[in-house]
Assembly symmetry: C2
Homo-oligomer: 329 residues x 2
């Protein structure tokens, strides 16, 4: 079904809240001291919600931070950006999650994480969480939580509650190949797709999400995913722009913006946050795709996973002033 309107209350997400530290030199690994910059507020769901809120959507986060400076950093940023933090638990024992990132010469990344062994992994369904979920209009799910049993059961419970009251669900697979080899996680991908209204895969995730071998075409995957009840599929293609397929019929495409990439982390989350928010606010698929492309592109021009998230007027200015990439393929 079409995304629930923003008047039906906030878009929520459940998952990791992190402090991120980024190496400022290109290279491999962390085997010697190198210059870095941080901490940046981080986490796929929080980057998504900050962009969602900046562009005018209502947003609320469910997650956990430690009782430390990195937790404060994240809480302050979300508050400043208008994201409701009442569903965030401050864990008295475990620290806020951390991510160290270094870019290699080939554009791939080396990470050192403290993720599900941080406060983020000990999230539980409290009264405060229940209150936020009970008034949510839309749930956005990032694939990372599918590998974590405790968080997955919270996602299932939240999705059921949100859908029961007429809300909708979006799913950004954010999947790595490792996930396929884990049977339990693969089963959760099926369960997730069955309750998804809007699917937001990257180009190479579409077949993974549809659990199809690579010889299948994009059209076959789309057809199969629509048969599961998904109503809208938006494929993120990086420099090749993005394409939206609607079950009701219609394919839209919007070209990418030409920007100098400083830090690609968070581009997909800002894309999703802008797309979900603008659709819920009543914009057309074509308009939403342009804002989503702009949000992703603007975000990569700043270091940090959500430092480039734009307001509607900032994105309007960005759209007016930035060239599109013309791809022949």
């Amino acid at each position: 079904m079409p995304l629930a309107p923003d008047s039906l209350e906030p878009t929520i997400s459940i998952g990791e809240i992190l402090a991120e530290v980024v190496a400022t030199t290109i290279g491999s690994g962390f085997s010697e001291p190198i210059p870095m910059i941080g901490p940046f507020p981080s986490g796929a769901p929080t980057s998504f919600l900050v962009q969602c809120s900046r562009i005018g959507g209502s947003a609320a986060m469910i997650g956990a931070v430690g009782d430390d400076a990195f937790g404060q950093l994240n809480l302050e940023r979300m508050k400043r950006e208008g994201v409701d933090v009442s569903g965030i638990t401050v864990d008295p024992d475990l620290p806020t999650g951390t991510a160290f990132v270094r870019y290699r010469p080939d554009g791939t990344r080396d990470f050192v994480f403290n993720l599900w062994t941080s406060a983020a992994g000990r999230l539980a369904w409290t009264d405060a969480v229940d209150a936020v979920v009970s008034r949510a209009g839309h749930l956005h799910v990032v694939g990372t939580v599918l590998g974590v049993p405790a968080l997955w059961s919270m996602v299932e419970r939240a999705a059921q509650k949100v859908r029961t009251r007429g809300g909708t669900v979006s799913f950004d697979p954010n999947m790595r190949k490792e996930l396929q080899s884990d049977r339990k996680t693969a089963a959760r991908v099926y369960a997730m797709l069955a309750m998804t209204d809007l699917l937001l895969p990257s180009g190479d995730e579409l077949l993974l999400a549809a659990v199809m071998p690579p010889q299948n075409s994009e059209e076959q995957a789309i057809k199969y995913l629509f048969s599961l009840g998904i109503s809208e599929i938006v494929i993120k293609r990086g420099a090749h722009g993005s394409t939206a397929y609607q079950m009701a019929g219609g394919v839209s495409h919007a070209p990418a913006f030409a920007v100098e990439e400083i830090d690609p982390t968070g581009a997909g989350d800002c894309f999703g946050g802008a797309y979900v928010a603008t659709r819920r606010l009543g914009l057309s698929v074509d308009q939403a795709l342009i804002y989503a492309n702009a949000a992703g592109a603007r975000n990569v021009t700043r270091r940090g996973p959500m430092e480039g998230a734009g307001s509607r007027s900032e994105l309007d200015a960005f759209i007016a002033g930035t060239e599109r990439i013309t791809c022949s393929s």
Copy 2:
């Protein structure tokens, strides 16, 4: 009793292994992205042992790291410096501990730790640990482990084993005032003092270690501590040098070296590592004090908690080329 000679096999220590990231600007807290440098291999026991080994002592570490780049960083450094790492466990689930440090204008520090909730906190007595402890000649204990029940029981067990075979024990209180208010930890300080041969307090820790109110004199504290069976007390006084008291009689003092301080972290650990190693190698108290002062001073001239640890020839050169601080007090 006098420290067991180095021929009786390695000096060991049990405790935290960390990756440390240091902010390169002076200021308060971590509320916004700032330039940093890291990861540096870190941890009070590892800094101690690296200095111990560099100056010619045999050294072995007991601790735990995660199965990640920060664990590798620490293992590689210790191996390179000749510290036996056979007693180090690689935890399959928990990450290597981390410490973020920022210096304030007044010289105090802001920290964000993932310490006992990292792999470091899940250390257990394995066969590999037993093998290392069974051939150890000296155990060095850093006060931080006194607050952690699981590590404290390992320290007690190791101390008993080492002492039974004629080995000795040193104790660097490294105490914060918070510890005093925790009764269980205070009880462990008593237990620790009862099995200590060499006590290495900082100036302001002497009365804390002796659990004496501040109106008591240094002499009263020393007398009390000797009555517990401690045979040697070396007080670290920073710019005021260091003083060694021996139960057998005799007080020695060595002035501090005049250096430009870049990063004070690790100074006390390098001091201790050099002192214990040189004493175990047969040097006199007077000689050991000079090397210990030099090791601490040289270490603060480099960023990172053990980057300035010196070999014997490096420290000889440092001693020959560095002025002493003359204090009037």
